[in-house]
Structures are given as structure tokens and as C-alpha cells.
Symmetry: C2
Subunit: 333 residues, 2 copies
């Protein structure tokens, strides 16, 4: 019945969020091993009134571990997840390393918890912008299949890690002091600016963030023919992503039906107050578990009332990463 | 041959930009009258090495004026544009007051300069997000009619005036100092945040900014059946708007054709460097005349290669407001 838990990448932005969420949810464990790169080994971390010493992540880190939460980047997942599985651990991996592997379930517990049972040692956590966009669309898609989605994202700095969040703050201070902003974590200025997502561009002109949204949605929804197009943009916000989502459904649908379906949906909070022009904002979602949804309206540009626009906000570090992985681990127990 | 010029609302963000642009373009005038509300009357403004004293905008301000550039808000345009016309002036109005009036041409010089000739004293300047979005789409639409546009905006504070730009700066300082941000110009926090556009919500759930984009585009393109849906969002940027635009065309079209059409288009600069992940940003467009266009890609979610995604950035105060109005005035001369 016990669970020996390991966290790989514990000193990163998502790693720190793992600890917050494990404590908040009182996740049951017998032992906890904190792992990170050699650079962070030896660092002390207080957790639940106990002091842990960060150990270096190696191939031998996983003896006796039951569940390992990984958020140390795709190359480290590729190197250390297989030995972790070999040692008997189940790996919940937050990186992109295994998401599209046909042998690895890609899971959002509100959508496809049944996929967890098919794991062969590794379960993949989807990309943040995929999770935040498709959790609220799922109850609509189940009721009336989505034929096409057009998504534009408004993504926070946190998706690029702690150094990017610090860079947003530092650049902002520099600009307010009349100085030239220093770009290190991002190639281009993030403070008081916006830019096309910093992931690698592919030959078709889409960046990897956009391609993840298309491929991961099809896998999670088990719907290989859903049409999706996506434009991913970074804006100067710390830790919550927003998305403008245009939906074409198979059959007619009204904003009231959407509101009804979302009002009882798992992991979703409807915030759609037209009277006060009060809709989801990054600061609403920051530190919260739910995805917030508003601006629910008929899209008159799609015939037969089959079009709906929505606007969503979700915490990139929580539901976009650490929370979703912990929810998967809870299902494993 | 002479032109006696008046500027109504000269002390506002757009009014100040009028002066910049008139000087840069060496706009020819014999006399210049600077008008604003009684609050600003008496204020001194240096322009082209001469000191002007701001006069109060009244119904009697326009004797002998040939061209009056208005940017003092819709209610002042409604009050003072008719007496200006009666006094013999041609009014180029930057407000929403007359845009949808069938007797008033709504003009973007790159698109429908011929409409200017139909004026009866007033010519309307379109809304900023409309101009910035549809200038680059026009050369594509002429070559291959656009059937449907899905637009998501990333709008700067400047659209809400000087006080909103100052508020973005002040709130940012407050947050960095650990204080609660003060909201006055905007109802909700703009610093390190994003929110649904602050214009009035209509019964169908769309705000006025979104409705302007739909109606103004149809009027300027003279294309009442073009299908448009729009989600307008403010982000913490000072003075340039960005827009993510998804286009469905009548016939097949390739990204190369789009690039070719835009490379010779008036008022447009293509910035589409996939190799360096270098695409238009607000800081590129700020202070510039052109609309910058990048992220030109085929949208595979539309059949028969009839879909294209683009990403644009344009200066809200220049092409989105003052520059477009001055260009109209130049055509009048």
C-alpha cells in the first residue's frame, strides 16, 4: 500500500510546483526522493516540516521507487526514464520525450483516465497549452463532436522555466529604468512585448508548440481527424496561459448549451459575466487548479449555428504541468 | 492652394501623434489651430519651432479652416464636426461617431481611396484594430476573395489613451514594489495580465471593438457578405497591436503566393524569417508606419489549400489612428 516517490527536476519551476501540490493534496507517500542535476545536488529543500537533500539524478536513483514524477527536460527523460522503469518505478513524464510514442499513454485525467491502464511503465503528461485548451473543449466535443478548432494562445513566461519568469521581471525593471533589456532566457524582449513562441520552427512554418497542440489533442481525444490550426504567442505574463478558441461543431449548438455543459464539467470554472465585462484573466487562473472559461458566444461566421467562440485561462505550472501529473499519480495509487 | 488646418483633441495620445506625423511628412499648411477641451485650453505646445496656444474646442472654432483632424472622442465629434462642416471645413474624424453612417466614407488610403470623393464634409477613420488587421489582408482578398476571417487581437494600452499607457507603467512599478496595482483607466489590472477588451458588451456577447472589426471591414472592402469573427484582448504592451488572423480563401493559395502579394503591397512589410524564428513584435511596429506581417503558413485544417494563417503587428497610434487620418488629409489636398 505504500508509495516511495521520486521527483526528477525538483529544483525547477514545475518541480517546485510538484511539492506545493503534493502538500496541498496531502498526497500519500512513505518516502520522497528529491532529484536534480549535479549542479543542484546537495541543496536543502524544506517540505512538510522535514529537510530533504537534493540528490543527483542518475541511472541508479530509482531503486525501490514506485512512482517517479519527471520534469527535467526531454533529453533527461529519454536518458533516465527507461532505467527508472527497469528499476520498477512508474514514470509520469512532463516532458515531450514520450508523448507521441504509441506505447505511452498521454493522459489528462478529466478526459482519458482509462488510457492510464495501458501503460508499460511510462505515462506522458501533455504540453501545457494543449491541456489548458482542451480540458474545457472536451465536454462540448463529447456532446457534439468538434470538426475544427482555430486556436491563438497568449502564453506566460513560466512555460520556459524559472529563468524566463525572472527575465520578465528583470527586463521590466531595466526598461522602467530607461535601460536596454537583457535577453538570455528568451531570444527576444518579453517585457512590454509579445512574440511568436520560442520553440523550433518546422519546415511547414509551424513551431513545435503548435504541432504539439495538433498531435496531442488528436491522441488524447482519440480523434485522428479533428482539424486544428494554432498560433502560439508569448506575452508578458508570469504563469497563466490564455487561449482564444474558435470551434466548429458537427451540429447546431448555443452559448447556453455550452454554459450548461461547462457548468458541471470537471476541472472547469465558468467566468462569463457579460454585465461587468468580467472574463478570465491570467491573474484569475494563477495559483488555481481549474481552467477558467468565458466569452462564450455564437460565431455567426459559421453557418447553421455550429460555431462558438470561447476564451480560457489556466495556470501553466499547475494544470498545465505539475497538477495534471500529480492527478495521474493519484489515479495510479 | 493654401490649407488652414485644425486639430481637435491635440493634447491626447492621437493628437500628439498627429503633430509628429505632420512634421515628419512635412504636411503643407498655411495656419494650424490647436483645439482641445477647456481643461487644456491655454496650454502651450511647441511645433516646428513655433509656440502654439491650445484653444478651447467650440462650435465657433472652425471659421476659415479647410481641414480639421478630429480625435477627441465620439461625443465631441458628434457635437463639433457638423458646425465644422458648416463653417466650410472637411473633417477627418478618428472617432467611431460617423464610421457606419452611409453618407460618410470610411477610408483606408491603401484600400479604398476612391471613397474619399463621395464625402459630404466628413470622412471617417476606421478603428485601429480594423486598420491593422485588414491592410495586409486586402492585397490577398483582391487576388483571391476571402470567404472567412477568424481574428484574435493582442491590443496595446494606447488604444485607451495616454492615461492607460501611464497606468500600465504605474501598475508595473507598483507590482514590482510588492504593492497592489491601482486601476483607474482600466477596470482590471493590465500590468503582467491580459483581459477581454474594455469596450461595451452587446447582447450577443461581442464587445464593440469586435463588432467594429466586422462592420467596418465589410464597409471598407465593400463586401457585405465576408464572414468575420473576432476576439479582442488587451495585453501589457504600450502602443502596437498584434493580431492572429486565420483566412479562408475562395480558391487555393500558397504561403509563397501570399508572400509575393504582400512584398509589393502598400503599407506592408513582410517580416517572416523562419530560420531565426523572427516575426513581427510590438516593438518592431512601434513608431513605424507599416504593418508588419509574418508567420505566413498554410492552414491544413481548411481543405484544398484554401487556408492561410498570418500574424501582424502595427502601431496603434500611427497607422491605427493618426497616420491613416493624415494620409486621408494628404489625398484631400
Amino acid at each position: 500500500m505504500g508509495c516511495n516517490l521520486a521527483i526528477a527536476g525538483v529544483t525547477g519551476a514545475v518541480g517546485q510546483e510538484f511539492l506545493e501540490i503534493l502538500e496541498e493534496r496531502d498526497f500519500p507517500f512513505d518516502s520522497l526522493k528529491m532529484l536534480a542535476s549535479s549542479r543542484s545536488a546537495g541543496k536543502k529543500i524544506e517540505f512538510k516540516r522535514k529537510t530533504y537533500i537534493v540528490e543527483e539524478l542518475t541511472k541508479n536513483s530509482f531503486k525501490g521507487i514506485n512512482i517517479a514524477l519527471f520534469s527535467a527536460g526531454a533529453s533527461r527523460s529519454k536518458e533516465f526514464a527507461p532505467p527508472a522503469v527497469e528499476a520498477g518505478a512508474i514514470v509520469v513524464d512532463n516532458s515531450s520525450a514520450y508523448r507521441m510514442d504509441p506505447d505511452v499513454p498521454l493522459v489528462i485525467p478529466e478526459i482519458n483516465p482509462q488510457a492510464i491502464a495501458q501503460h508499460k511503465g511510462i505515462i506522458a503528461n501533455p504540453n501545457c497549452s494543449t491541456i489548458i485548451g482542451i480540458v474545457p473543449v472536451w465536454p462540448l466535443h463529447k456532446a457534439n463532436p468538434v470538426k475544427r478548432m482555430v486556436v491563438s494562445t497568449y502564453q506566460a513566461a513560466s512555460g520556459a522555466g524559472q529563468s524566463a519568469m525572472l527575465e520578465l521581471e528583470e527586463q521590466t525593471r531595466e526598461i522602467l529604468a530607461g535601460k536596454k533589456p537583457t535577453c538570455k532566457a528568451f531570444k527576444y524582449q518579453i517585457a512590454f512585448n509579445a512574440f511568436s513562441h520560442d520553440s523550433a520552427l518546422q519546415p511547414n512554418g509551424y513551431n513545435l508548440e503548435e504541432i504539439k497542440m495538433v498531435n496531442e489533442t488528436r491522441k488524447i481525444y482519440d480523434c485522428p481527424d479533428i482539424a486544428i490550426t494554432c498560433t502560439c504567442i508569448r506575452i508578458p505574463v508570469f504563469r497563466a496561459h490564455c487561449e482564444s478558441i474558435n470551434l466548429e461543431f458537427t451540429d447546431p449548438i448555443t452559448p447556453d448549451q455550452v454554459r450548461d455543459l461547462l457548468s458541471t464539467a470537471m476541472g472547469v470554472t465558468v467566468l462569463d459575466d457579460r454585465e461587468h465585462n468580467r472574463f478570465p484573466m491570467p491573474i484569475d487562473a494563477s495559483g488555481k487548479d481549474d481552467i477558467f472559461v468565458g466569452r462564450i458566444r455564437q460565431d455567426e461566421s459559421i453557418p447553421e449555428n455550429r460555431g462558438i467562440n470561447i476564451w480560457v485561462a489556466g495556470d501553466q505550472l499547475r494544470k498545465g504541468a505539475a497538477l495534471n501529473a500529480v492527478q495521474i499519480a493519484e489515479k495510479l495509487l
